[in-house]
Each structure stands twice: as structure tokens, then as C-alpha cells.
């Protein structure tokens, strides 16, 4: 079913005023599955078109909705979503946007990077999927002007040797460039309260370029505090959270979901090759993961990329969905 454009645009036009230089609001919204019963919990997808881009929004139903008029309910919900999504955020000037150093990730972000003073959430769909590796790869590139990296680690399980190029200067040509190791301060708070306090202090400090924190439980008010703190400080806050937090409301400017991808090579060939030969070149491979931009505050957003992290160098690039040459080579029995 299609909602008429006038109906969609009205509330927004009233809010933003006639002179606002905004791109046209979604011209139409089409609901899939709207005839389905809404008496179950589940999700309903709505599709909209913005120029050439198809944007999908998902409405989660946590309680059965025994409404006689499904279409009306969905329409109301869709309107609520659109209100949240008004493109009121002015675009950041391109010279202020900080590149993450991962071109596919930059391409996913509306400004091709993180503007200063933003809170970024990395949700990992399952443990060991590579969200932390991505976050630290980006964090290392976001350090600028002799500013520091603060890691708030309540579990005391952060293991710095896992970071690649820990000791190398950022730009080897300049000897005064310090290494990541020298610029990193790790905080081990004992309670959750302390962790939040330390996180807020660090976000608020203009001398800190990036703050990384593992944090699962986060109340909405606290999240807002963090977001205001990072706006004051002008750094980048990165929260590493589990995928279960996806349904929690969040004030983060960017929400990125990382899902593991099964590697293309079949297990038997990998097993045989690994068991058969333990030569040096079989030691390193690459891992693949899917990165999805779930939400970007004040912007229309969406999209996902599949990435590949090189094991030996830590390099992140777009994944090629073909079996790596080495694997097929090994599968052939070589």
C-alpha cells in the first residue's frame, strides 16, 4: 500500500518551516507485510524512496498490537520514524570531517568520515567477530595533533599487543611522531559508575582524540550525557557493545553493526590444507565481516559493506566474495 506524499510531508513541513534548505522528504512510503497480523511480536519493514536510493526502515513490535486497523497503526509508526529522521543536521564542512583510514567505511558514512565530537557505537553481533579490531584500526588513524587515545576497560581484558603497528610512528618520515603505544592511556575502573565517570571525563577533555570503551548497559540519560560530553570535547567516542544492545534506544551519532561472515573456503579443504602443511604461508589468511550502518543521527542513512581484514598486515579492504586464491590452491592438493 502507498501513503500519499502530501500526508507524509505535512508534519515535517510544519515543523521545519518553509525556508528550510532541506532535501525533499521521502516522496513515498510503501509498506510491505502490512496486511499481516500485528498481533504477534516481530518486525515490519517499510520502504521509502529518496531520489534514487531505496531506504528501508524496520519497525520492531515488542508487544502484540490488537488494533483493528493495521494500516493506520503502521502509518502512525512510520510517521514517528520520519520525525526522528528529519534531515535537520547540517552537513559538516568536508575539511573538518576526520577520515577513518578505512575507505569502505568512509564510503558508508554520509560525510565520508566522522565529524569531530561524535559518539560512535560499534555493535558486534557475536563475540569474536572483529568489531574491536575495526574500531582500533579507525581510532589509530583518528589520532591527530599529538592528542591521546584513552581506553576505558572495565573488564581489564584489553590486550594491547593485539594492535598492529603499536610501536611504529604514525608517519615514519617525521621523527617527532610518537607511536600509538606512547599516546595510549588505559583506565581500569573498578565499578560501572567509575567507568561511566572516567568515560565522560575523557570525552569532555579536548586533549583526547579518541576514547574507546567497552560498555554494555547504558541508560538513555547516561548516553545523552556522554553525547553532550563528546560534543564539548570535540573528540570521537567509541563504544564497543554487544549486538543485544541493538534494540536499546541510543543517542549515539553513528551505530555500526558488525557481523561475522563465514569464510568462503570449505572446512574440509581448510582442514586438510592446514593439517597437511604447516608451512609459513598457510599461517596467515584474512577474515571477512559485514559492517552495517544502522543509524546516523539527523541523516538518512543505511547501507552495508563487506570487509576483509588481512591477518598479516591488519589492512582493511572491501571483501572479494570469491574464494581466495591460496585456498583453492591448497584445496587442489598442493
Amino acid at each position: 500500500m502507498v501513503v500519499s506524499p502530501s500526508e507524509c510531508a505535512k508534519p515535517d513541513a510544519a515543523r521545519t518551516g518553509p525556508a528550510s534548505p532541506l532535501p525533499p522528504i521521502l516522496s513515498s512510503f510503501r509498506f510491505l507485510d502490512s496486511e499481516k497480523e500485528l498481533t504477534q511480536t516481530g518486525k515490519v519493514c517499510t520502504h521509502g524512496q529518496h531520489g534514487q536510493t531505496i531506504i528501508t526502515r524496520t519497525i520492531y513490535l515488542f508487544a502484540p498490537m490488537p488494533s483493528p486497523d493495521n494500516a493506520q497503526t503502521i502509518r502512525d509508526l512510520a510517521r514517528q520514524i520520519r520525525r526522528l529522521e528529519r534531515t535537520t543536521q547540517p552537513a559538516t564542512p568536508a575539511d573538518r570531517v576526520l577520515s577513518t583510514g578505512i575507505p569502505p567505511l568512509d564510503g558508508l558514512l554520509p560525510d565520508r568520515g566522522f565529524p569531530p565530537g561524535t559518539l560512535v557505537e560499534w555493535l558486534s553481533a557475536s563475540p569474536g567477530c572483529g568489531a574491536g579490531t575495526l574500531a582500533f584500526t579507525a581510532a589509530a588513524r583518528l589520532l591527530r595533533n599529538d592528542r591521546a587515545l584513552v581506553v576505558v576497560d572495565p573488564d581489564r581484558s584489553f590486550h594491547p599487543p593485539a594492535l598492529p603497528h603499536l610501536l611504529q610512528p604514525f608517519r615514519p618520515s617525521l621523527p617527532e611522531q610518537t607511536s600509538l603505544l606512547e599516546r595510549m592511556v588505559i583506565v581500569h575502573p573498578e565499578t560501572e559508575r567509575d567507568a561511566l565517570w572516567a568515560l565522560e571525563q575523557s570525552l569532555r577533555c579536548p586533549a583526547v582524540a579518541v576514547t574507546v570503551c567497552w560498555l554494555d548497559h547504558l541508560r538513555s540519560q547516561v548516553c545523552r550525557r556522554l553525547q553532550l560530553a563528546v560534543e564539548t570535547g570535540g573528540g570521537i567516542g567509541m563504544l564497543l557493545r554487544s549486538g543485544e544492545c541493538r534494540v536499546d534506544p541510543s543517542w549515539a551519532d553513528f551505530r555500526l553493526l558488525v557481523e561475522p561472515l563465514a569464510s568462503m573456503s570449505s572446512s574440509s579443504s581448510a582442514f586438510l590444507s592446514a593439517a597437511g602443511s604447516l608451512s609459513a604461508d598457510s599461517t596467515w589468511s584474512s577474515r571477512q565481516l559485514r559492517l552495517e550502518l544502522l543509524h546516523c543521527r539527523g541523516r538518512l542513512s543505511g547501507g552495508a559493506v563487506e570487509l576483509e581484514i588481512d591477518d598479516a598486515t591488519g589492512h582493511v579492504r572491501l571483501a572479494s566474495r570469491m574464494a581466495p586464491a591460496a585456498d583453492s590452491y591448497r584445496a587442489a592438493g598442493a
Partner: protein, 524 residues
């Protein structure tokens, strides 16, 4: 008595870094806009062709090409503030010989030994004892005892003999043959005298006394009179910093935190005020809450950089106080400054980025705040240890202790020849792995897991993680990590990096002797 320490900056470097004693030493400093220039170098460096005033790059080039000398020269940055501080410390040490010890210029100490010499058996013995004591450290000095400061200074620096004692009243005779620059004259006056070919003090004395002031400035006549004893001169003694301590007794005990805070603010203000006269900042502050019956409560607050601001210190004190449980009412307060350091003064340049120094300061404040509330041990920097056992591959160093570690060097420091500064983290052994060799999250204690494996020594096929069974898709390994028997808990483990069918990565190991499996981290 005057003590002259020739080439004091070089001597100081040699004492501070005794391991480089036998290397030629060269000091350089930043000359405005022209890069670094050599300001001082020792005899051995002079023989290599290095001269003061030479650009640093040229000097390094010289040493790079000449293969003749066996030791590579040591290049150090000239640090006048540190030299000055060291001289003051030495003056403090010299108080064993005299109650009034002062400094003169950049490399001289003045000791008032009137009435002290007989304790050592005379001035001759006193000088000898002094030379013996400083000789133990490898210091070279020239000393002279005379009736006036000017004469002692002139004779000590003349370099004729290492220790001279001028008998009372004889200074005029000794001074006559000395050059005029021994009179501590300003450069302009000395230049004028040089032009007129007046080289000896005797020649100066022959000039009409009345015209001296008008021809060469008032300083010449004054210095001459001081050296001869016609004008009095005093030694300005160096005072070593005394510990600053302020305290307050309440009329009656109180447990009111508001009142305590107000009183503490006053005390901290007083203490910082006492320090500020000597341009020093607080590095460590100790607060003692006195209880009537129980043991006193001690609070210690440390800062990353010396801080002159009482507001910042109070903020730190307040965070500590908030987290301190007062078991009993407080009867009095003591505030002691246990560590203080001179404030770094840096001249701003026209095109200097103000932002830079500001950032540095903000960062220091953040570290202070975090450390004072969470505790020193909780705010750390990383030091990599070349240890095979992953749990011990990292050592946490409190960020407050590594005071200068985060001082980004803004000068283009030549990297190779300069000895590593003492605050640099030791980089030894094989500490670089390929990117994916170690997990990002490594729990302190490995967690036992149930693993299915085809062969007794084979790789894992399936394992239980949480409440779910994970099937291994790919694996790499084993990486045998074994430590020696002399360890308290030696280990023998076969580590496997495994990737499950869904693409998650874990680090598993098998206890080689027991055969049991453990999960030791996620490649998050």
C-alpha cells in the same frame, strides 16, 4: 672561597650519564630559525673538528665520516635550567663547608669560609678536602680562597693552579698581574678596555681613578673596588626548598564535609602561595586528617605536571575526599607539599600554536583527575615486555609515574646519535607480531572449555562457547608457548587460532601435559 667548575654543563652531563663518560660530549641548542647549533663541546670533540657555533647537522656529518676515534660522540640538548638547578643542588651540598653558599654566574660557587676554615685545619686543608670530595664524583674544579669575593673569583678562574690560598691582605698584589676580564666586567666595558690595550689589572689601576667611571661606565670602578676590598660585597646564599607545611586545628571536631572542604581550600591556597614565590608547582600533596582517637587519615594527591593552580589541586582533593570514608570526626588538618618542581617556562613564539600547550595542559589535568579518583594504579600506560606468556607480555605503568612520557617533542630531534631519553619506554626483544596473532581481549585467567578433537594432539573440531556448540571452520596453529621450569607456574600450551563456521574467531589452547582445553580470548 670561590669554586669554579669549568664547562659545568658538560661536566654535569658526564655525571648524570656516567655510562657515557668516555665519549666526547657535545651540547647543542636551538638557535632561532637556523636550526640547532653547537653551544659547547669537550676537548675530545674539538679534536674531531667540532667547534661551538657549528650547525648540528654539520657536526653530525663530521662524526659520521671520521673513522679515527673509537667512541661516537654523545649529542645532548643544552638545558640551562637543569644546569642551574644542579648548581643550586651542589650549593646545598656545599653547606657542609660554610653556612653561606651562593652562586655566581653559571659555573661558580661562592663559599663564605670566614670562621669555618679552622674546623678543617685551615684554608689549605679545607680546599684539599673539597677537591677530594668532588673528585670522587669526577668533578673538576678550581678553587681560590681570598679576602674578597672578587679576588677569589678572579684567581679561581685564572686557571693557574687548581687550589690557591691567598694570604690575608695580599689580594692586591696577586690581582695586579691578572687580566682585566677577571674583574667580572660587562662585555661593553671589557671591549673598550681591550681596544685601549689595557689588558692587566695593574694597567687599569694606573689610570686616573676619577675618569674610570666616565670612560668605561660605573661598573668598572665598582668591580675593581670590590676585588680590592674597598667596597663590601655579600654572598647571596642559596636556600634549599623547605618542605611546605600548613596546618589547622579546629576548635571542636567536625564531620561536616562542607566545613572540611572550606578549611582545606584555605590551607591549600596558603601552601601554594608559599611555593609560588619560588616559581614552583605542586607535584604531590599530602593531606592528613587528624582524629582525636583513631589513627589519622592520610590522603595523597599527585599531579602529572607541576601545578601552580589551587583550584585544580582542590578539585583533585575533593574527588579524593568524596571517596574517603570518615570514621571519626576530624580535629585538625595538615597539608604538606611533599614534592614540588619548578614550573616549566617556555617563551611563546610569534607563530606558535597556542593550542598545542593548551592541549598538553588539558591532558595532564585529565590524568590527574582520573588518577586521583580511581587510584594511581588504575590509570596506566602500557609497557611491552618480551615475554612469551601472553598474560605477562604487558606491564601496566601508572600514568602519573611516566611524567614526561607524553611530552611530544616538537623539535626536530636528530634520532640516531642522541641517547634514548630516560623516560622512553624500553623497546627490546621481539614485541611485534603480525596483526592477528594475539586476541584483542585476553582474560587474565583462561576459561576451561569442552572441545572435541579428532586426534589426541590434533586441532579442535568443535567446542562449547557459552551455551552453544561452535564448529571450527578454519584453524591456524599450533603455536607452542612454553616457559621455563624456574617460573612459579611454568606453562606448556599449544595455541590454536580458530574460526568458527559463522566466522567468529577465538584463541584456544591445549594444556600439553594434561590434554585439557582452554579458551583464552576472542579476536574481537
Amino acid at each position: 672561597m670561590c669554586v669554579w667548575l669549568p664547562e659545568w654543563p658538560l661536566q654535569r652531563i658526564r655525571i648524570v650519564q656516567p655510562e657515557h663518560k668516555h665519549r666526547p660530549t657535545v651540547l647543542y641548542a636551538e638557535a632561532s630559525r637556523k636550526g640547532h647549533r653547537i653551544v659547547a663541546c669537550c676537548q675530545a670533540a674539538l679534536r674531531c673538528g667540532i667547534t661551538p657555533g657549528m650547525p648540528l647537522a654539520e657536526a653530525q656529518g663530521l662524526t659520521g665520516t671520521s673513522r679515527t676515534q673509537q667512541a661516537e660522540p654523545l649529542f645532548c640538548e643544552h638545558n640551562p635550567e637543569e644546569d642551574r638547578a644542579a648548581l643550586n643542588r651542589l650549593a646545598g651540598w656545599c653547606q657542609r663547608y660554610s653556612p653561606a653558599v651562593g652562586t655566581e654566574g653559571e659555573d661558580c660557587l661562592l663559599l663564605d669560609v670566614t670562621g669555618c676554615a679552622h674546623l678543617w685545619g685551615g684554608e689549605q686543608q679545607l680546599s684539599r678536602e673539597f677537591h677530594r670530595a668532588v673528585g670522587q664524583w669526577g668533578l673538576t674544579a678550581g678553587t681560590a680562597c681570598a679576602d674578597t669575593i672578587g679576588a677569589a673569583w678572579a684567581i679561581a678562574r685564572s686557571g693557574e693552579s687548581r687550589e690557591t690560598v691567598v694570604p690575608p691582605g695580599q689580594q692586591a698584589a696577586v690581582l695586579r698581574s691578572l687580566p682585566v676580564r677577571a674583574l667580572r666586567l660587562p662585555a661593553a666595558a671589557a671591549g673598550k678596555l681591550e681596544e685601549l690595550a689595557i689588558r692587566r689589572i695593574a694597567q687599569l689601576q694606573q689610570l686616573p681613578r676619577a675618569s674610570l667611571s666616565s670612560r668605561f661606565g660605573p661598573e668598572v670602578a665598582r668591580r675593581l673596588d670590590q676585588a680590592l676590598g674597598a667596597l663590601p660585597e655579600q654572598i647571596e646564599p642559596v636556600r634549599l626548598a623547605e618542605p611546605v607545611e600548613v596546618s589547622l586545628e579546629f576548635e571542636y571536631s567536625t564531620g561536616d564535609r562542607g566545613a572540611l572542604e572550606a578549611a582545606l581550600t584555605q590551607l591549600v591556597e596558603q601552601a601554594v602561595g608559599q611555593l609560588s614565590t619560588s616559581r614552583q608547582g605542586v607535584q604531590q600533596l599530602e593531606i592528613c586528617l587528624v582524629h582525636a582517637e583513631q589513627q589519622n587519615t592520610q590522603l595523597t594527591v599527585g599531579t602529572l605536571r607541576p601545578s601552580p593552580s589551587e583550584a585544580h589541586l582542590m578539585e583533585l582533593v575533593r574527588t579524593r575526599l568524596e571517596r574517603t570514608e570518615l570514621t571519626e570526626e576530624v580535629a585538625g588538618l595538615h597539608v604538606t607539599i611533599t614534592a614540588a618542581a619548578p614550573l616549566e617556562s617556555r617563551q611563546h613564539q610569534l607563530f606558535d600554536t597556542v593550542e598545542h600547550s593548551h592541549t598538553d595542559q588539558e591532558f595532564a589535568r585529565l590524568i590527574d583527575r582520573l588518577s586521583s579518583r580511581l587510584g594511581r594504579q588504575q590509570v596506566v600506560r602500557t609497557e611491552l615486555i618480551p615475554d612469551a606468556q601472553p598474560e605477562f607480555a604487558v606491564r601496566w605503568v601508572p600514568a602519573l609515574d611516566s611524567h614526561t612520557a607524553h611530552r611530544p617533542s616538537r623539535q626536530n630531534r636528530p634520532t640516531q646519535q642522541i641517547q634514548q631519553p630516560p623516560f622512553a619506554l624500553p623497546i627490546t626483544g621481539p614485541v611485534t607480531w603480525p596483526a592477528a596473532a594475539r586476541p584483542l581481549r585476553l582474560p587474565a585467567e583462561p576459561e576451561p572449555v569442552g572441545v572435541t578433537s579428532l586426534m589426541p594432539d590434533g586441532p579442535p573440531i568443535r567446542f562449547r562457547y557459552g551455551d552453544r556448540m561452535q564448529t571450527v571452520g578454519r584453524w591456524w596453529g599450533p603455536e607452542r608457548i612454553e616457559t621455563g621450569w624456574w617460573r612459579e607456574r611454568p606453562i606448556r600450551r599449544d595455541y590454536y587460532r580458530v574460526e568458527t563456521h559463522s566466522g567468529q574467531r577465538f584463541w584456544l589452547f591445549r594444556h600439553v601435559t594434561q590434554g585439557s582445553w582452554f579458551l583464552h580470548g576472542e579476536f574481537e
